[in-house]
């Protein structure tokens, strides 16, 4: 077991609790011991970064400092937006000693431990897409997905900007497909899998956001997907919950079930539904899964 500091972020703490419970249930099966962080806050979701960038940097430095204080070398995330915000702040602090010294001085003033730059921020997706995590995943996914057709949806902020994410080619990602295949599913290919779900502007510019949201949903259904999987709870919220608004706006019926990454792997690993909590979804994925007797 590898100890990793676990940052669940806002959504897995609140509206997407199912992401937290399925991640907690899956982690030991892929060799991860989660050390939960107590004294951490929201990463700012890109919004604080935009509104008050200096405060964003300090808020994230504080999260990184508490992660480092656990003695773990990895801060595990389960959300694209958290991953980008924390990685970006981490690179700023690691790459500029003067800036880090200034931030640490401010952290010390409020009683937060200093951050020396020893933590790597990694998404669960990357942990199980290669290396030991991938080998353990293949063993854990013993129940398989029986050829379930799964549309991978990456979302933006796990791929771009590539200089901050850096895990895979942002135009030719492979990690979700590899995991789907390892679980016994069939990965569906469609162009919008690397595009935006519209979530960041879904409150302020709903119409524009829905124009983005329809692309992955429409294309995945056309390509024959039974379900869609995403590593991001914000993408999940817009794809799952706003799908009803899309149906109202277009007069069409989509009913495409959207799974969190940990849930999809959880199904293949035989994790109980009490942990996967599908009833918290707006589009119920259970009929699609039952039909295939997964």
């Amino acid at each position: 077991m590898r100890r990793v500091a676990y940052y669940k972020g806002c959504l897995a703490s609140l509206s997407a609790k199912e992401l937290d419970t399925s991640t907690q249930a899956l982690a030991p099966r892929v060799g991860l011991e989660l050390v939960e962080l107590e004294s951490v806050t929201c990463c700012g979701a890109g919004d604080i970064h935009e509104a008050e960038p200096d405060y964003y940097l300090h808020l994230n430095a504080r999260i990184l400092a508490y992660a480092e204080a656990t003695g773990c070398d990895t801060l595990l995330t389960v959300c694209n937006v958290c991953t980008l915000n924390l990685r970006q702040a981490n690179f700023m602090l690691k790459g500029d000693d003067t800036l880090r010294a200034r931030v640490n001085k401010n952290l010390a003033e409020v009683g937060v431990p200093a951050y020396s730059g020893e933590v790597d921020v990694r998404h669960l997706l990357w942990e199980i897409a290669e290396g030991e995590g991938y080998e353990l995943l293949k063993v854990a996914a013993h129940k398989g997905l029986k050829g379930l057709k799964v549309a991978p949806f990456y979302g933006c902020q796990i791929l771009r900007p590539s200089k901050i994410m850096g895990f895979e080619d942002p135009d030719r990602p492979w990690s979700l497909e590899r995991i789907i295949e390892a679980c016994g599913g069939v990965a569906i290919d469609y162009p919008a899998k690397i595009k935006c779900c519209g979530f960041p502007i879904i409150q302020a510019r709903e119409e524009t956001a829905l124009g983005e949201l329809i692309q992955p949903i429409e294309q995945a259904i056309e390509a024959g997907a039974d379900v869609m999987v995403t590593p991001c709870p914000l993408c999940h919220l817009s794809l799952d919950a706003w799908q009803q608004k899309l149906e109202a706006a277009t007069g069409r019926s989509f009913k495409l079930p959207i799974l969190h990454l940990a849930q999809l792997v959880g199904v293949a690993a035989g994790i109980e539904e009490s942990e996967l909590k599908f009833k918290r979804h707006i589009v119920d994925p259970r009929p699609a899964l039952e039909r295939l007797e997964v």
Binding site: C10, S13, L14, S39, T41, C42, G44, D47, I48, E50, A51, E52, P53, D54, Y55, H58, L59, Q88, A89, M92, K94, G95, D96, L99, N106, L107, V110, G111, V112, C156, Q157, R160, P161, K163, I164, G166, F167, E168, D171, R172, P173, W174, D189, Y190, P191, I194, P200, I201, Q203, A204, R205, E207, T208, A209, L210, G211, E212, A241, R280, I282
Partner: protein, 359 residues
């Protein structure tokens, strides 16, 4: 070396579209633009594309290669040819196609002009009549934005513009930041008001395609974030996007976590929120929304509150807060960090799908 290309040909007059394959012999140092020149000279003189300087400075030869916008003169073809790839070349996105690889840039220039891309007079001139000097830190604020060559690669891929063609977009907004951040410009507030309109700063969907595609390192998304920070610093925060952003700040220092249930009324106002009631009730019935009781409060959230107070006193609000991180981020190269991984090799997934690519 032998280079094979597939090019989407298009004639707007007849509406005819066809994917043509060309095979040519090119020098090993050839760029995509060189290859197109060879095709045009030796194979098919009717192929249409724009070019001028051939050295990444005029911004004429923006086009798509395998679905991604590039400057044709910047892409070396050696690795692609060696890997046996046959890339698909097509016109840029989000702009109407005139012919083959040539797009109509008028909508692009209209937005560019709307930004008033020139200094607005009225700044204080030095009394002794000498030239106006800008300090290095002030110049740093706009040095990336000043690199823009107006090629349109960022606009081609903008996800928000695909959905709303009126969105000002990454190029125009980055240009806007170039003037908002210029101390000689006397119209900062007017500009921020204008850029904060319906199709402005707060319509950016943060897909980061613009940063990824820009061949000059402008990072337009970062420029838009700077504009957002400047707008809020100057109190120009009536837009729902600005209110949304400010609510995250408020949440982080009160409970530590996003106060989701209050986000809609704080962003859209009460009337609009009431209209969302039916939608909200459905979310509540699935435990997706609702008031957490007792409220979900992060341990030691007082530290975040104190930090906020301290950084506000240190006065790095606005674009300056963004710029302070640029030096460190500039050390990172675009692309995959693991040098050993071959994007075209085993384990990589097929190139992005293109419409009718299978022809």
């Amino acid at each position: 070396m032998q280079v094979a290309l597939k090019v989407w040909r298009y004639d707007a007059a007849t509406g005819d579209r066809a994917l043509r394959e060309y095979e040519i012999d090119a020098p090993e140092e050839a760029t995509l633009l060189d290859c197109l020149d060879i095709v045009k000279d030796k194979v098919d003189g009717t192929l249409a594309y724009r070019k001028s300087c051939r050295m990444m400075i005029c911004g004429s030869c923006g086009m798509r290669m395998d679905g991604a916008a590039v400057l044709a003169c910047k892409v070396r073809m050696y690795d692609v040819a060696q890997a046996g790839q046959v890339p698909v070349i097509s016109a840029m996105g989000n702009l109407p196609i005139v012919r083959d690889l040539v797009v109509d840039m008028d909508p692009f220039w209209d937005k560019f002009k709307a930004m008033k891309p020139y200094l607005q007079p009225g700044y204080d001139r030095p009394e002794d009549g000498r030239e106006y000097r800008i300090t290095q830190p002030r110049m740093d604020a706009i040095k990336k934005e000043a690199l823009c060559i107006n090629c349109g690669c960022c606009v081609s891929e903008c996800n928000a513009m695909e959905s709303d063609p009126e969105f000002l977009g990454p190029q125009a907004l980055a240009k806007g930041m170039r003037f908002v951040g210029d101390p000689r410009d006397a119209a900062t507030v007017e500009r921020l008001e204008q850029y904060s309109g319906e199709h402005g700063i707060w319509e950016c969907t943060r897909c980061f395609f613009c940063n990824e595609r820009c061949p000059k390192g402008v990072d337009p998304r970062d420029a838009i974030a700077k504009l957002g920070a400047e707008a809020i610093k100057n109190g120009i925060d009536r837009d729902m996007g600005a209110k949304h952003a400010k609510w995250f700040v408020r949440s982080s220092e009160t409970t530590g976590w996003l106060r989701e249930t209050e986000l809609v009324p704080k962003t859209q106002g009460i009337v609009s929120s009431v209209k969302q009631m039916k939608f909200a009730m459905n979310l509540i019935s699935h435990n997706k929304a609702g008031l957490a009781f007792p409220p979900h409060v992060a341990k030691d959230v007082g530290e975040a509150r104190q930090l906020h107070k301290i950084v506000r006193e240190q006065d790095r609000q606005g674009a300056f807060g963004h710029i302070q991180g640029e030096r460190a981020l500039a050390k990172l190269a675009h692309g995959v960090h693991d040098e050993g991984r071959d994007p075209y090799g085993p384990g990589s997934f097929p190139k992005p799908y293109l419409p009718e690519d299978t022809e």
